[in-house]
């Protein structure tokens, strides 16, 4: 890349006033992931009723892009069923922020991974069957974390 990047207005507005910031006591599902690239951390808390995401909160230690993607993903999946939420891709997250600088794409993976992990946690806690894809995702995330 030549020259310095800039953030979109949407990124800055989510960063400055994050939505659904905080935590949930006794969450139905908790996802915690670390960013391998630069050492940042995100925690995502879910309250799920009838497989629907009733409440969602996050805490993030990271750059403005990491905070903005955390914030926007909570908006995107709130009220959705877990099945719908699992379909969330980081492209959707990036698009709904009007784009991210290339060097910040990895920050958006953090939020998608945290969501997957939180749903995984919920399913495990409730002795539910884990979709094969989610199982694989979980394995990828945790082994990456171990290696770090």
């Amino acid at each position: 890349m030549r020259g310095q990047f800039t953030y979109s207005k949407k990124v800055l507005s989510h960063f400055r006033k994050p939505h659904n910031l905080g935590n949930i006591k006794n969450p139905s599902g908790l996802g915690e992931v670390g960013n391998l690239a630069c050492g940042d951390v995100m925690k995502l808390y879910l309250k799920i009723e009838d497989d629907k995401i009733e409440e969602i909160k996050f805490e993030t230690y990271g750059c403005a892009a990491a905070i903005a993607t955390s914030s926007v993903i909570t908006d995107l999946v709130k009220g959705k069923t877990i099945e719908e939420a699992l379909k969330m891709t980081n492209k959707e997250v990036i698009d709904s922020l009007d784009g991210l600088p290339p060097i910040k794409i990895h920050c958006s993976l953090l939020s998608v991974d945290a969501l997957g992990e939180a749903i995984y946690d919920y399913l495990v806690k409730n002795n539910r069957e884990i979709p094969k894809e989610l199982e694989e995702r979980h394995r990828r995330i945790t082994t990456l974390a171990d290696h770090h």
Partner: protein, 385 residues
């Protein structure tokens, strides 16, 4: 525009209006090429030579020991690569772990060409180990290149001692004085400096001009080949207006010198004390005694620097960070790591650098805003302290 509070003088300074005024005639009136033989050309050349003299005098050098270049990066490249080209019988280079990227990467490039590169570690204040330096310099050593005032943490090295060691072993000594030039006394004779880099845009002069001092008698080869400007060491049409500006900037620094340093140092100390008093879990990076008078570098625990910086920017405050998230390779500052900080500790570092127009009111504003902003970012974080 909202009121702006500029605390990034170490990145670059605004140009002093007196400098702008001195430069203006060299755009539209005296625009001759210094290589032209007509009177316009000669006038330009005279102006350049006047600047050369002012700058030389400020470091106790001779005018013909000053080469004008386009940036400190270029000067540092020319120093290291130019020496290497001219002295093929040597094969070792010594630098410190806290050099600016342009020295670091020039040295690494030479390493890729077969040089042995020794990177001296620093202690937790950012000082190099002089005993180790003494052990490392040998007859195969081409040059020792050590930064004078560090750009990130402000630590000042003892050039006198380094110069003595190098001279005793007949090894060339180069220093990158980009941050310290005009801020602390530099005497190339006393300090036994053989090559020195200094820049204009850190001292209220224009961007796009810098110098490399090379002690007379020392051979270096050029990087740029062309019409033979600057004694054949830096071919390129001479940037007259910028050079005039740099000369003027140095001249002003003579006049304001002591007064300015006292004023800024006081503000610096007020800022450091205020932050340490009002914000929990933070500490100052770098030496508290041997420090550039305008540098404040502070790490905040459990805070990521880029988000902190942007939040401050939103309130009109401009500064820098050593966070991995803000660097283009996602690595934390190599300077802070070399001083023994862990990656998370380097993550939350901010640099505030003060200057000629920093006021007490600005410091008060910063001290009022910073605690709130740190608190806000900490609230977003999953780590609680």
């Amino acid at each position: 525009m909202k009121q702006k509070y500029y605390f990034d003088y170490a990145a670059t300074t605004p140009i002093d209006p007196r400098v702008v005024k001195a430069m203006l005639p060299y755009f539209g009136e005296i625009y001759g090429n210094t290589m032209s033989l007509h009177s316009f050309g000669m006038k330009s050349a005279e102006a350049v030579e006047k600047s050369r003299e002012i700058i030389a005098k400020s470091i106790n050098a001779k005018a013909d020991e000053i080469i004008f270049t386009g940036s400190a990066t270029e000067s540092n490249n020319l120093a290291l690569k130019g020496l290497a080209e001219a002295h093929p019988n040597k094969n070792k280079i010594i630098i410190s772990a806290i050099e600016h990227d342009c020295v670091l990467n020039s040295a690494r490039w030479l390493k890729s060409k077969g040089y042995r590169l020794v990177v001296l570690p620093v202690d937790k204040e950012g000082k190099i180990d002089l005993e180790l330096l003494e052990k490392e310099v040998d007859e195969k050593t081409l040059v020792v290149s050590i930064i004078h005032g560090n750009n990130e943490v402000g630590t000042i090295q003892d050039l006198q001692k380094i110069g003595n060691i190098c001279r005793n072993h007949k090894v060339y000594f180069h220093t990158d004085a980009s941050q310290s030039f005009t801020k602390t006394k530099i005497d190339v004779e006393d300090m036994k400096i053989d090559l020195l880099t200094a820049s204009s845009h850190k001292i209220y002069g224009p961007k796009g001009v810098a110098i490399l001092y090379v002690r007379s008698g020392i051979m270096i080869n050029p990087i740029l080949h062309g019409g033979g400007h600057e004694g054949g060491l830096r071919s390129s049409t001479v940037n007259v207006s910028a050079i005039v500006g740099m000369g003027k900037a140095v001249e002003i620094s003579y006049k304001v010198g002591k007064l300015e340093s006292c004023k800024v140092e006081k503000l610096r100390d007020k800022l450091i004390k205020g932050v340490l008093k009002t914000i929990p879990d933070c500490w100052v990076n770098g030496s508290l005694t041997d420090r550039l008078y305008n540098n404040v570098n502070i790490s905040f625990k459990n805070v990521e620097g880029e988000s902190l910086l942007l939040e401050l920017d939103n309130r009109g405050i401009m500064c820098s960070t050593g966070s991995a998230c803000s660097s283009n390779n996602l690595e934390p500052s190599h300077v802070l790591l070399a001083m023994g900080l862990t990656a998370p500790e380097a993550h939350g570092s901010l640099r505030f650098s003060l200057g000629r127009w920093t006021t007490e009111k600005e410091i008060d504003y910063l001290l009022a805003v910073l605690p709130k902003v740190v608190k806000k970012i900490r609230k977003i974080s999953p780590f609680k302290i």
